[in-house]
Symmetry: C2
Subunit: 475 residues, 2 copies
């Protein structure tokens, strides 16, 4: 029996025995408000990076912070078992991010976002905090798996490189240059990321399809200053009026996105895939009802899973302009703003979508109005193959842990690093995450089920064992 | 010669001699941030009310504060010359407001909005502050006229009631009940208001036409909480998308407002009036250019003066929803908001416009979306006759002061109290104001030309003299 298989029971037992310690460590890092988008939290981001570096150094990693143009990257190496460098032992790259989304709107949190707490839910206790699941909690699942291997398994059974960045929530502006500059240090057989969801609380999932993203901020400007709508109203251009006129045309009556050529590269869902998804018995009403909704709002006539996993979208994520305080102010403002994002499917080119957005806005600009469009993030959609040795090893680990196979799922979200890792380092990614759809990621009262957390850590322990036993990975 | 005519030269001389004192008093009240819309400034509003009460008490008025459901009202009475109560002496009601608009956006002020300062402009020195002109500065023109009559004219030559409210900028929610409850105390022959503009720096104006206003705040709600656009985008209703779709239809391609029946009660401008306005030689390019604009944005094919004075409008004055901080956040928010206002012309019924707005929004609401519409202000447009004795007296005072007749102008703004005074007290209003179109009322760097301020005070001195000499007013 391979040593990594022989050690498995005691490593899992160690994990089970240290659940309290794991919870304390997890809560410690949740207390750091590492909001990458808000400059006043730069020091908190660095503190979170340092915290992960120290935890990695404790369990046998050579770990350090690397500077970037923005928040630092945590980079750590573990040599694996003796002789690992001579081949035969798989080399995994674990990627995660220590930064979190802004916590606004603060008034809708029932507890302070950076004071993690436990609450009882239908599946037992859950942790509530910004970053509880995305991505600090998910990172902790594999970090605790490493710790258990370190303490009870004689060290990690595979070679591991860890990369934890601090700018995922702001579009990872410095990640690609970092990957390109550190190709040698980052060489690995396979990347592993836990930033996705399970199918449900009992059923794991491997995510094989991700949407891309183009995120833009638009500013319309008209008059040189704010105007009184009594003195100027009816003659002066109002940039909020113009913004609603332009963005109000983003969708047609059938819910299709109106950018020119938006669907040109979108391929129809293969019938086999459509049938497989149909077979999942997805509860559309339950999914929507969980968010207080009753009607699928996307492209008319398509199942919700297809809308989420296989169709591109446009959403206005923020809008502001003029007077937004209490009471009435009759101003015609000088400018108006919106943030909007497009979720993309594989084969759509982010640069083409950006160009289409610019044309769409420019063609609709009224007189005396200028538009500034800033792109805050751009990544293509991606599909990963599941017909590989490592995918089978992951499936085996999940079957062993959950007693049922993982769903091969799509995801409506974007993990641009998956595309970057393939393009810049030539490696594929195993997306094996333990969140649930109702975790309220990016919203108030974000949570992570302790049950999912613990299963996740155990699944990572099993994955390392299985990959170590399988030996060097080749596709 | 009537005593009030005989006293005129010395009263005007007194005014001329005390310009420094007048400026000091004016700046004193400009330092009080009496922003009625912002609850944290309630004490500042009360302080401004008390300041005006004290100044009135100094110059022979019986003055006090009266409580309302909101900010207090300053109410003051001056008996006029001996024997005034026995008839024959006109009784004027001067109305003004001590509250000001919010100062936001603060970053666009070159000096602090509540630290009044002088700056040199093309017409000499100007005062810069929130409320410099609207309406504290304009109120000070008649208050200084009263002071000069008190100090150099043996007291006021007419009976005067003063009413200064503190909620004009929030739609005067408590004014109508106050007027109705104090009909006896407020009885007068004519109301005088200085809250309008001159035609230009050399040419006075009497405003004979005002637009009304319906001001609404709309909140659209969809999901029960904020959602992640990766997990839900393409299937979940986005209330910002819906808000832009609805409000983007407020105007058609010709700039006409799209509410059902919006123009039903709007009468075409009489040809004689159109001809008179044409004769004013209004500089459309100069007017728009002063605001950094080049193209009239209103109803296609109508002159700018008609767009401003005789046509109703719709403007979005504020919009907000989702994430509006720095960077990217991929949220589908639970709600979105807008403030919007409709300028109305005479004969349009504010209640009908409100009903049309509710229908307009409701008919366009997508599934899973609710709309809450709150009306923050509603008043009809109004036209006042100029074929009256008091209008001739006002014209005479202005000719004497400026050496040229006043333009009988329209105004694009709304002074709802004019309609209230007519409806509740049965009295007409003389609108004689001394602002200029470029005073940046409601915007950053609001200003009032000292030259206009001083002419205005002198014109009010003359007006009192002329009305006193003309005797009891009857239409």
């Amino acid at each position: 029996m391979h040593a990594a298989l022989a050690a498995l029971p005691q490593v899992l037992a160690r994990l089970d025995a240290d659940r309290t310690g794991a919870l304390e460590r997890w809560f410690e890092v949740l207390r750091l408000p590492s909001i990458s988008a808000q400059p006043e939290h730069a020091a908190d981001c660095r503190a979170a990076a340092g915290w992960f570096r120290d935890r990695l150094a404790e369990i046998g990693f050579t770990a350090g912070l690397r500077e970037t143009g923005g928040h630092p990257v945590v980079l750590a190496q573990h040599a694996g078992p003796a002789g690992a460098t001579s081949g035969g032992v798989p080399h995994l790259l674990f990627y995660g991010h220590y930064d979190v989304q802004p916590a606004e709107p603060l008034e809708r949190w029932t507890t302070a976002p950076f004071a993690p707490s436990l609450a009882e839910g239908p599946y037992g206790p859950r942790a509530i905090a910004r970053g509880a699941v995305d991505d600090k909690g998910q990172v902790m699942t594999w970090l605790e798996a490493f710790r258990a291997w370190h303490q009870a398994g004689g060290g990690l059974p595979v070679r591991v490189t860890v990369l934890i960045e601090g700018e995922e929530e702001t579009g990872s502006p410095n990640l690609d240059p970092f990957l390109a500059a550190h190709r040698g240090e980052l060489a690995a057989d396979l990347a592993v990321i836990s930033d996705t969801n399970m199918w449900d609380v009992d059923t794991p999932a491997i995510t094989t399809r991700l949407r891309g993203l183009v995120y833009a901020e638009i500013t319309l400007r008209a008059a040189a200053r704010d105007l009184h709508s009594g003195l100027y109203g009816g003659a002066a251009r109002n940039p909020i009026n113009a913004l609603t006129q332009i963005l109000g045309q983003l969708h047609d009556d059938d819910g299709r996105v109106g950018l020119p050529g938006f669907y040109d590269a979108v391929r129809a869902l293969p019938e086999a895939v459509a049938a497989q998804w149909q077979g999942l018995g997805f509860d559309e009403a339950g999914f929507l009802g969980g968010a207080g909704l009753a009607t699928a709002a996307g492209e008319r006539g398509r199942p919700v899973l297809e809308q989420l996993w296989a169709r591109p979208t446009a959403d206005i994520n923020g809008i502001w302009g003029g007077y937004t305080g209490p009471g009435a102010k009759t101003v015609i403002p000088a400018e108006a703003h919106a943030k909007l994002s497009f979720r993309l499917v594989p084969d759509q080119d982010p640069a083409a979508i950006e160009a289409a957005l610019r044309r769409f806005v420019t063609e609709r600009l009224p007189a005396d109005t200028t538009a500034e469009i800033r792109i805050l993030g751009a990544s293509p959609g991606i599909a990963v193959s599941t017909d590989t040795g490592w995918a089978r090893a992951a499936q085996a680990a999940l079957v062993a842990e959950f007693g049922r196979p993982a769903v091969l799922a799509g995801s409506g979200g974007s993990i641009p690093v998956v595309e970057s890792l393939r393009r810049l380092l030539g490696i594929d990614t195993l997306l094996m995450g333990f969140g649930l759809d109702d975790d309220q990621v990016h919203g108030p009262n974000e949570k992570f089920e302790l049950r999912c957390f613990h299963h996740g850590a155990r699944a990572h322990v099993r994955l390392l064992s299985g990959l170590a036993a399988a030996g060097k990975l080749r596709g």
